[in-house]
Symmetry: C2
């Protein structure tokens, strides 16, 4: 029996977390962690597997024999745009923990806007005890664009919290207890939406979709009048110049952004310190690295056991 | 038929919200809104009903013939401590909206601590793009003290978000899917609790219950090591000097306080600007005033129709 193929690991995560998660992972094969300088000039030809997140641009050139590429996250746009992506299955990371974390972030952002957290923080900074007129979750409709695994989980949890929730996706999704729209029903969906949550993959169709034209179609009938934009998907889906002018003009009342057109967000960006914007550094659903390796182990075991891979990306659709 | 008794309204809420909610309320009887100066010297004898929240201390002296007192909130300690409380039914406000709002606040506080919101705000203030090691909800146990209507609703919602949840109450409560403790099982409950949520009524038994001795019994095994205290119940249940020293010494890692021993919180309080403390001005579950009046109308209709009142307080137990 030939010895088992090594696994290339090229993950731009917190290095210590990758190191820790690798302890005990892939017990029956070698791991080539590209963060480790001893592997810097290692010949990667003949290797079957790579687990990548914002990997080095020359990875596919250096590792020409990959049989499967595993994305370190739910999104795969960072892989699809790499030069020389081989024509082999690309597997996304789908995991209970990743889904749960995204919903934590989405629910927290919706609640912070609903409960006027920044306004109360500003009062506290002035040591001022004063209550603000407070609508409740049921007075708002959250509209989620992107009703895949992440969108459906967030929808269900927002709904339990008392929000009205509607969903939109490219193709129609039936979701228990949630009204859903698809394709060209977008305008109807937007007209109902007070808090817009973006959980879309980045594809040619979604590039720049969150722009001034779309914001202008959102509901202005909610208790806060101006709609709120919350993006936990991909920065490439948003036009940041439009978000800034929408916030300036009042077309948008507030925003929560975890993703940006260019990451890291530049220090000079106005987003960092706008009073009505929450910025997080692409951490809404950071992958649990142990869970990632366990998912990769399972998929490799399936493949080597003659079973089909799961969560394989449709490269034409881009997700 | 004698004309129907007026209703005295003495609610220290936002005055405009009370005014607005009174439009159309109690259509068949007079409303004496004590915030209205024309009623200042009004003779209140012979009147059957009063709806009160932090009412004037001389109310019961001035209105000696009340048949029912309605609390403007879920808590009734503000009524029980008023001089001259007549020996008539005291009815608490129980309402879907009030419950939902409290859960919004509790879930938001738990998520902000879990997701290290203040740490990310501090990074944003420095325009620094950096991710922090991030445990998930399932890595923490939230312990709720007070498993009445509010506690049970919060427990269910925290559980949906992925937190482990345990509950403690004076008398044993069976709650679907939640492990509950009662009475003298408090220490076992505390030893499991990473985030302690207080939703207790203020009674002689709960006065000062959140003190250094109790904090010392909380779990220090969670991912953040130091436990977190979140109080949405009553300020009288907490010993603020102990909370301050616990935060200083690290016995507590952080806190969220909506209620205080003395309200309004004094401007000189250190709580306002501590980096690991969220302060809100007793607004966690502000009553929806329209819903309050509709609840009072329903209870008066029951009483005058010969049916028993609902949500009557056990004055001996204090809730």
């Amino acid at each position: 029996m030939p010895s088992k193929s090594p696994v290339i690991v090229d993950l731009k995560f917190i290095p210590e977390e990758v190191e820790a998660a690798l302890k005990g992972a892939f017990p029956d094969r070698e791991v080539i962690n590209r963060a480790d300088t001893i592997h810097y000039n290692r010949n990667l030809s003949g290797i079957d597997y790579a687990v990548v997140w914002k990997s080095a641009p020359d990875l596919f050139e250096r590792a020409p024999d990959l049989k499967v590429v595993f994305s370190g996250g739910a999104g795969v746009d960072h892989v699809l745009t790499l030069p020389g992506l081989p024509d082999v299955p690309l597997v996304r990371f789908v995991d209970r923990s990743l889904t749960t974390r995204m919903s934590e972030w989405v629910v927290m952002q919706c609640l912070m806007h609903l409960r006027q957290h920044r306004a109360y923080e500003a009062l506290a900074a002035k040591r001022e005890w004063r209550d603000l007129s407070q609508p409740e979750a049921a007075d708002f409709t959250v509209g989620i664009m992107g009703m895949g695994v992440l969108g459906q989980d967030a929808a269900r949890k927002l709904s339990v919290l008392g929000f009205n929730v509607v969903g939109w996706s490219r193709s129609k999704k039936a979701v228990d207890g949630i009204e859903t729209y698809a394709g060209d029903e977008l305008d109807t969906f937007l007209a109902r939406t007070d808090f817009l949550v973006g959980l879309l993959p980045l594809t040619p169709d979604t590039k720049g979709i969150f722009n001034a034209g779309l914001f202008a179609k959102l509901s202005r009938n909610g208790p806060f009048a101006a709609p709120i934009f919350i993006n936990g998907g991909r920065g490439g889906s948003q036009v940041e110049a439009d978000i800034l002018s929408a916030l300036d003009s009042g077309l948008l009342g507030a925003a929560s952004l975890d993703v940006f057109e260019q990451e890291p967000l530049l220090p000079e960006s106005r987003f960092w310190q706008m009073p009505n914007v929450y910025v997080t550094p692409h951490v809404a659903a950071s992958s649990d690295v142990k869970a990632l390796f366990s998912h990769v182990e399972q998929q490799i075991a399936r493949l080597e056991g003659g079973l089909p891979l799961q969560h394989v990306v449709d490269k034409l659709a881009g997700y």
